[in-house]
């Protein structure tokens, strides 16, 4: 216990437990005090009779004020710090009173507006401006609080009090009450709409400017205090709000909470178009692991973390109207039934957009609307004319009214597919695909999205929102980039080299890395299609095709295909591939021989398909089978003749045994005369020597070979 402050220590402990507790670990924490909060704390910790909490706190504080009113708390704070922060901060009661003064002035700021109510709360004469020593003492109290929170490594929250530049001394208290819990609960909606991710370090001024330009529905959901700051030109309050927005996004974990700081579970509507049923699901959060959930007396397992779970018998009308569902989580850990009430909440919107979901096999809310996506839309009746007109504009055709899907009274269901993007009024904006309000990369040949790594041959486009862009866009700190009328900058044409590049667009710093190569040297090729043949027949047993799974290349199947790779086991042997046609060089002379005396020259030509599809690509060899079409006799041999070499190839399909008993032809062609002279020196595959010798002997017998062999 620190000397001199024991009187207020009940309040200090209660305020610490209420505001600075392990539930706030690593999150910005605010001593956001108003009269209602003080009553709540008083009631919870039994500090004063019902309705007298504020008076009790003030009485406790007033009893200890001195000539320099805050000095006792100053001394206590210094001692507490040097003692290593034992117990609760001994000055939280005084800080609470200074914040209460800021809360009472309700948005007005300035020394005069603040000190008068503060003096009243402290029991000092109304006039006189700043209490004596206030400037020094108050900054010490907030700084010691910051030191304590920091020394605990954020286990009880992260400090947020900020003096600001415009109103010395007053900023500390004001910074705690600008955003009320209800406002903070709205921030995830704003961050999501903005396209900002959890933990992103965006300048507060950028966030503030975007909040000012947010759709009216979102903007007006904030408290009057915040809206008046957004509407007004008060630099001091704007600066504080900007700083808080920055802190909130920086420490946002991506979850949604209510104004009492309880985690919310988002409920999503689903539409089973087939059976005409509208239901609701939620994604099972991690803290539901192994738990059971009770809805209206019905208890069931929570399901797998991360997967959809259906709400039993949901009140669709309530959910469409933005209502919430209460449920109880029953944790069965260590054999105890620990109960926790929680709320499932959905979005409040007169237009609800659902996309077909692969996982659920139904249309479900929560998917980002993009081009070419079939959507089911539930619209409040009063908005139907405007909504159908907007859908027509986006899809180019009249949206189809879904007769089978029957939403509750006052709503209608439609189906449409946007093929273009356009700006719509705020109340219909959810129908249209839209880009993030923040500067962002789009497209590009991205090889790693998380690290913004792209191929050098395909850097992305930079997309900026021209409406909120307040500064020039720079590349690597010196090149100024000029967005086009749609807010796009094509980085492709800039010839960016491999390496890191930094872009500054409206306060948002974006880094991209360009690489020439990213491929793994030894990747696995896992998508093999497979099928089997049964009992030696070409009868399919199983085919694993698209969508049906994959098998590895060493799986036991008769046929495996991956791209142009084909593995056929035992089948090719059965299918008895015939002898392939020879391929011969395009140069030289080519003669086809039939029975002795039959010969025709063939002229190799570039295959028709090749010359048609690949002009300029000349054949280097030619496929004999294609040239055989014009030969008038049964071809037996092909002669491939150059100046220094003559080869003979046996042609497929020629009979194994040929009877050469015919008479000598009365006339032979010039092709025969030309080739016959060199046939004796022809080179032949050793497998065909026997047949060739038989053929050649017959030709000799008939006197068709001009010179004696060899």
């Amino acid at each position: 216990m620190v000397a001199g402050v024991s009187v207020g220590n009940e309040w200090n402990a209660a305020l610490r437990d209420h505001f600075y507790h392990p539930g706030m670990a690593r999150r910005p924490v605010y001593l956001c005090v108003d009269r209602a909060v003080i009553e709540t704390v008083s009631r919870a910790y039994d500090l004063a009779p019902e309705g007298q909490g504020v008076d009790a706190l003030l009485s406790s504080v007033r009893s200890r004020t001195a000539a320099e009113p805050l000095h006792p708390w100053f001394r206590a704070a210094v001692q507490w710090k040097s003692a290593g922060f034992p117990g609760p901060p001994p000055f939280l009661d005084m800080l609470a009173v200074t914040v209460l003064a800021a809360s009472d002035v309700s948005g007005r700021i300035g020394s005069n507006a603040y000190y008068q109510p503060l003096r009243l709360l402290l029991g000092l004469p109304r006039t006189g401006g700043m209490p004596r020593g206030f400037d020094n003492d108050i900054s010490t109290l907030w700084n010691v609080l910051r030191d304590w929170l920091t020394s605990q490594d954020g286990a009880f929250g992260l400090p947020t009090a900020n003096l600001g530049h415009h109103f010395p001394n007053v900023g500390w208290a004001s910074s705690q009450v600008i955003l009320r819990p209800a406002d903070r609960a709205k921030l995830p909606h704003f961050f999501t709409a903005l396209g900002a991710g959890p933990g992103e370090d965006l300048p507060g001024t950028v966030l503030l400017e975007n909040l000012r330009r947010a759709p009216a529905r979102l903007r007006s959901s904030f408290s009057r205090r915040v809206v008046s700051i957004l509407d007004g030109k008060t630099d001091a309050m704007s600066e504080l709000l900007a700083d808080m927005l920055h802190q909130e996004l920086l420490h946002w974990d991506g979850g949604w909470r209510d104004e009492d700081d309880r985690q919310l579970v988002q409920v999503l509507l689903t539409a089973d178009e087939f059976n005409g049923r509208i239901s609701a699901v939620y994604r099972v959060p991690e803290r539901f692991t192994g738990a059971r959930i009770r809805f209206d007396g019905q208890e069931e397992d929570a399901g797998e973390v991360g997967e959809y779970a259906y709400l039993p018998a949901p009140d669709v009308k309530l959910l469409l109207g933005g209502g919430e569902v209460s449920a109880t989580r029953i944790d069965l850990d260590s054999g105890k039934r620990i109960r926790e009430r929680f709320r499932l909440t959905g979005v409040q919107n007169d237009v609800r957009v659902l996309a077909g979901d692969d996982e659920l096999g139904e249309f479900v809310e929560g998917h980002r609307v993009t081009l070419d996506l079939k959507l089911v839309v539930l619209v409040r009746e009063h908005l139907v004319p405007e909504a159908t007109c907007a859908m027509h504009k986006l899809s180019g055709e009249e949206p189809r009214r879904l007769q089978r899907l029957r939403p509750p009274t006052g709503w209608q269901a439609f189906k449409y597919r946007p093929v273009r993007s356009t700006r719509l009024p705020a109340n219909l904006a959810s129908l249209a695909p839209r880009d993030s309000l923040l500067a962002n990369f789009t497209g590009g040949l991205c090889v790693d999205g998380r690290s913004h790594t792209y191929l050098t041959s395909g850097p992305p486009d930079l997309s900026v929102n021209l409406e909120v862009l307040s500064d020039v866009v720079t590349l690597n700190d010196f090149t100024v980039l000029q967005p086009d009328s749609e807010g796009r900058v094509r980085l492709t044409g800039l010839g960016l080299a491999e390496g890191k590049h930094e872009i500054n667009a409206g306060g948002r710093k974006l880094t991209l890395r360009l690489v020439d190569e990213a491929a793994d040297q030894r990747p696995d090729f896992t998508y093999w299609r497979a099928w089997d043949f049964r009992q030696g027949e070409k009868r399919l047993r199983r085919l694993i095709a698209s969508g049906g799974g994959v098998v590895s290349a060493d799986a036991e199947h008769d046929v495996l295909v991956n791209g142009a790779s084909l593995i056929v086991r035992d089948v090719e042997r059965r299918s008895g591939h015939s002898r392939p046609w020879p391929e011969v060089r395009a140069g030289g002379q080519h003669v086809v021989l039939g029975m002795p005396g039959q010969a025709v020259s063939i002229v190799p030509r570039t295959p028709l398909w090749l010359s048609k599809n690949a002009p300029g690509v000349e054949a280097r060899t030619f496929d004999v089978s294609a040239a055989m079409r014009d030969v008038a006799f049964s071809p037996l041999w092909l002669v491939d003749e150059t100046d220094d070499r003559i080869e003979v190839h046996r042609l497929p399909g020629s009979p194994a045994e040929v009877s050469y008993t015919g008479a000598c032809p009365s006339k032979v062609s010039s092709s025969w005369r030309s080739v016959a002279r060199r046939l004796a020196e022809a080179i032949i595959d050793e497998r065909d020597v026997h047949e060739w010798n038989g053929w050649f002997a017959a030709a000799e017998r008939l006197g068709l070979i001009p010179e004696v062999r060899g």
């Binding site: 990213a518 395009a586 599809n613 030619f622």
Partner: protein
Amino acid sequence: MTGHDLLLGWMSERHKGSFERFRETWTWLFREEDPRWWRRTLNDLQTLGHVEIDGGRWETATPTITTLPNSGGYALLCGKRTDRLVRAIEGNTHGIRLARPVAQSAGPSVQLIEYEAISALASACADLGIRFERVVSDRLLESSPTLNDLLLSRKIPDQLPGGVQPTVLGDDLNFHEQENCRGTQPGAYCVELFRQQRYFYRHGAPPAPLFECGLQVVRYAELRRVRAGQQRTPVKSSPVEWDRDTGQLRVAKGRRLPELFERATVLRSGFLPTWDNGLRRWVYHNIDEEFSQLLQNKLAS
């Protein structure tokens, strides 16, 4: 370098990914095109042997060099095509050379390979870690199941999945919305879940089985059923035409061949089918009579 070459290069460097990422990249590369064509491009890349698709994901395929029939001395490079691989082929010591890439309008450039002898080609592939195939087109078709077998392999319970109303294949071979359709009549159906289209064919009313196959398998099955119903006899005539003079195989609009057959057919040349405006037909190249006959048998049985 064409947009399709950049796309294949990107896929090769990335190796695998989701349809969603592919669609985003496609839309960025081909911003002037109808955004619905991304899926056609992905299918074409599979047909060309560059990628394999499974569910909502894709993966580049094994780099492969296959010989072609009636090729004029060229082989074809398929599958993953990284710059590193291209450089390795350029530096080989087996006498194989990269021909000048031949651009095609709907897919990446056709990369032909010049070779002196098949044995040298096979050795080069072994050295470079590339798979070598002899005339994979003909072997693939020969090993392929028939159309009936493709259907039978994908028999599913007799109800369409999920709570999304199916669209129905019409006479124009496109799928159309039909009020209160439950997919219980004989016909072909499409169910779209997020970005994934699933196709179904029903030969008879329940309890007759339902089959889930690729788009073109379903179309060809339905074509056959409708024509058989009109003729009251099994269909004998073929929906594909072969032209002896040009070595072309031709099919009417909406009748691109079922994927596995189309892959075999396209790997005869390395070129995707081209649309002939005069003939009003899709044209496949470098097809001989034997191949055409076998293909027609597979489609008819």
